[in-house]
């Protein structure tokens, strides 16, 4: 198993290099010199040329890439053009915020979707099953940002339960736990609603698939209670496809997080990237795609490893 993990991590290196090259090329296709944008409309040609040179933007693209890569290998992601702060520092602040809403949202959505899937499989083709399916169709047909806007209107404006956005109350410097929970509540609820319906439907068909297996029939014939059949056999075996699905959903979750962060003005990785892309703040944009690339690859690896933990039949050599 350890060998397998090491091999997968080594294999991830070319993928990560590819991710950085693609981002690099894309970002440099964008017309407009960041130095020009930074200095404003009244800058003279000489200071623009000087700043362009200082930022290394006058070098050929491959040289710029290798410079950046060399810096990254030394644990340095560069300095933001606009905020004049190390990119690593910005990312270190933003990453836990995004992981908080994506992580907590995913965890709650997992638990709910497992319950939903097992219940629906248990009452398959009944009125309750069909009703849940119809509701699930509606929920995952909603654009995530519209859902977020509805959450603000319903639970912040109409019924003022939660703050409409941000991470702390205005004018407050020390953030208490309660304030933190209140501010992540609506983003998390939005992520849960947007993902649970899809995963729950997936769990339903996965459990149904399991329940027609021969060993389930054997267990029932031996007089095992329906509860044990569902919890011991169906639940555990249906986890496999869910784990893979979640592993593959990680980039999508970060994509959704960007829209959610924009709705709630929640300063995580997504909002940071969005501002960087608009301002042509290359070091931030490169740093974030690198971090998300790493998280995606680790997520897929974790899914494969969990797969082996849940299913002893699977051996990696």
């Amino acid at each position: 198993m350890l060998n397998y993990i090491i091999r997968r991590l080594v294999e991830a290196i070319p993928t990560l290099l590819g991710v950085t090259i693609i981002t690099f090329v894309l970002a440099h296709l964008v017309p407009g010199n960041p130095a020009l944008v930074m200095l404003g409309p009244h800058a003279n040609a000489r200071s623009i040329a000087l700043l362009t040179h200082q930022l290394g933007l006058d070098k050929p693209l491959p040289v710029q890439y290798l410079d950046w890569l060399w810096m990254v290998l030394h644990g340095n992601l560069g300095v933001s053009y606009y905020q004049n702060v190390p990119v690593l520092q910005l990312i270190e602040t933003a990453t836990p915020r995004t992981l908080a809403i994506v992580g907590i949202g995913t965890l709650i959505a997992d638990i709910l979707s497992i319950i939903q899937g097992i219940y629906q499989a248990h009452v398959k083709n009944s009125f309750a099953d069909n009703l849940i399916s119809v509701v699930a169709y509606f929920l995952y047909s909603m654009p995530i940002f519209w859902l977020g806007v509805l959450m603000v209107i319903w639970f912040s404006i109409d019924i003022p339960l939660f703050p409409p956005g941000g991470i702390q109350d205005p004018g407050v410097t020390n953030v208490t736990f309660g304030m933190w929970v209140a501010h992540i509540a609506l983003p998390v609820i939005t992520i849960v609603i947007a993902t649970v319906a899809f995963w729950g439907r997936f769990m339903r068909s996965s459990v149904i698939e399991t329940l027609i297996q021969d060993y389930i029939r054997t267990a029932r014939a031996k007089g095992v209670t329906e509860y044990t059949v569902l919890m011991r056999h169906a639940f555990r075996n249906s986890l496999l496809p869910l784990i893979t699905l979640i592993g593959f959903s990680i980039p999508g979750l970060f994509g959704g997080a960007l829209l959610v962060e924009e709705v709630f003005n929640y300063p995580g990785l997504g909002l940071l990237f969005y501002q960087a892309a608009i301002q042509r703040d290359y070091p931030i944009a490169f740093g974030i795609t690198l971090i998300i690339g790493i998280l995606t690859i680790l997520g897929n690896l974790l899914a494969d490893v969990l797969y082996a933990v849940v299913d002893p039949r699977i051996r990696y050599n």
């Binding site: 169709y137 909603m142 940002f145 806007v149 994509g255 795609t289």
Partner: protein, 302 residues
Amino acid sequence: MSALPNMAPEVQSTLAHGEEGTSRAWRAFWRNPLAVAGVTILVFLVLFSWVGPLVYHASAYTTSLSNIVQAPTAAHILGTDALGRDNLARLMLGGQISLIVGFAAAVVGVFIGVVYGLVAAQFGGWTDTILMRIVDITLAIPSIYVLLLLDAVLKPNVYVMIFIIAVTSWQGIARIVRSEVLSLKTREFVEAARAAGAGWLRIMARHFLPNSMGSIIVYTTFAVGAGILTLAGLSFLGLGLPPPAPNWGQAISDGIQYEFQNAWWLIYPPGLLIVAAELCVNFLGDAFNAAFDPRLQGRGGA
């Protein structure tokens, strides 16, 4: 598909004779209530977007600064927007743009993916390894991040928008087509065709494509929904199509400026229209999936 000998004979014949399997699949499709619901919504959306403007004559572009953000009246059935333009007329015209961009992006993306998957499977070896590694790389970047950068580079109009959505949504079908072709390559009827002297283009056209048609149709259907959502998301981020042309995502984005004024007519109708379009493709996609996947038939739906 390595377990073919264990499959029921009807499954094997579906795989071996694409056309017969397709007509059986169509009959199964039309018997599915999801298909009927999906087609009904599709007819509604097409009527709303294309026939609607013929019946409802208000202009989508005429501004009226004395009538901004006005609640629904007899003259403006769904009220007016921030520039006093007729909201319903803009939603109808916006429907045309949203649906065309979603559909065209799906078709272009699937075309890219199918060709890519066919090439990877056909040439195999290093070509295949490199092509599939490129797929892994592009999937490790969330597509909205690529879209943000592309959007900044290319200053989208409708055609550019179709292109940038397509180039971020072809990887899934490329993988599916590749693995289907790889398994079909080992089948006897393909070997027989090759022995009879058929070139690879002919084998692709006559054997691989008809056999992968089920997956391609299912994938394209879901891709239409994804394309509509992507356009909406980009518009919400202020990176959609240039004004004054409307689309549903742009309408939501404009409407939420007035969320504190309770301008419900600007916030709910465009969202519900997107939900209707997504429901339509999800219903149709699941119905196609059930129809083309013989394992799902006679088991109470997907």
